[in-house]
Symmetry: C2
Subunit: 271 residues, 2 copies
Amino acid sequence: MNTTFIFEQIQRKKSYLCVGLDTDIRRIPSHLQSTDDPIFEFNKQIIEATADFCVAYKPNLAFYESLGAKGWESLQKTLDYIPDDIFTIADAKRGDIGNTSDLYARTFFEHFQFDAVTVAPYMGVDSVKPFLNYPDKFTILLALTSNVGSADFQDLSLESGGRLFEKVLEISQNWADENQLMYVVGATKAEQFAQIRKVIPNHFLLVPGVGAQGGDLEAVSRYGMNSKCGLLVNSSRGIIYAGSGRDFATKAQEASQKMAEEMEQYLDKYL
Amino acid sequence: MNTTFIFEQIQRKKSYLCVGLDTDIRRIPSHLQSTDDPIFEFNKQIIEATADFCVAYKPNLAFYESLGAKGWESLQKTLDYIPDDIFTIADAKRGDIGNTSDLYARTFFEHFQFDAVTVAPYMGVDSVKPFLNYPDKFTILLALTSNVGSADFQDLSLESGGRLFEKVLEISQNWADENQLMYVVGATKAEQFAQIRKVIPNHFLLVPGVGAQGGDLEAVSRYGMNSKCGLLVNSSRGIIYAGSGRDFATKAQEASQKMAEEMEQYLDKYL
């Protein structure tokens, strides 16, 4: 999958929504708990309900790992169930020395066949390069995250000028272009998107933090959109837990449709 | 397990060796490949051969994840097989927003019952705190890693003085003390250990990079040791792949014994 294809899907569905599959076994409606694989059963119904309104799914690996081998199986079945024209992101935030990152890349790109994986930049070039060895896959590098702790290190001013996250944007552009790299930039930092777009005008940004974390979708769209949209805005809890009973899938459909309708307006206005 | 207990084990075994269980299915001797669980069979024999000479085992999660659900089972069996008086480290390099880190902590500390987990600092305080909610467990924060890419960001000079990895050491000391926090500092940076010890005199350091990566054990020990040793020096490939045939366990025993004997000298000299 490449950026042109992603943009085509955005235009077709009039949506740049990514649905985060942060599927927590403790929050699955009780009527599904007795099924063979409650995590997959939940995801299956969420996917059926939301696939018309989103262009990406992002399973958060922590939720699957926490269930051990069984969670791994649920993840595989979920991936197999996602329609082929929808972009899949392993939200794994991995990053290690070369031979280890190489194995992580193989796990997510070959074993699970994800289209993209999120990667932490702290260990530098040789921790990221193994993911870039897959020309048809995307590496989504953490830049400026949506959480409070992003101020601790990402926001630090450097002696050479600029802040750490800006250095991450700058240096990593030597590693690959927008056909292989995307960046995580939190929706809670909407005021910074205009500045970020000066450094990376062409890359897609994966934007968490709308919804439960309080980010502003219109501000993100106004300051962050480029000529190919360039945004994948994620919502996890706001969609998959929009309901908590037997009607959870209908509620998720309504929540995703509502976001997509809002996005359609912003595509008309800012694209 | 606490630092006093770890130090007692170091004194008893006269070793501060950590054996890295980076068990790669492609490097397991051929006579084990036909067993039910080659990864576990290999680890079991490595543990039997090296347990007298080391005080910690560090499975690298990438190697287990790359095998999917089956790898997860091998990891669980490996953990169950490690003697109770040996410190166990999940080399996972995780780190995410609070509710996600919380799940990772639960996976490694509750599900697998590891004593410690490695964590990446890039996302700041709320990505690390969930791991610190376990008072009897250790969080091992990446500070200055052993790879080439550590120069890209960790070594950057900050406007406020010092370098990024020093800021990580400094800020994180507000989060927990040496009874809950350790740091990763690569053996390839031996000349920096004296400076690092000025900032964190009391913490244990997990030191990768001896062996395959070229770090100098004597220099690390001279500049890095404190009054409770304060070092866990890891070797992975240098021990577990010391041999490649039917005698792999004997070769691993010899390699770990050789390192322990060298460590005994440094304990006499520098403790």
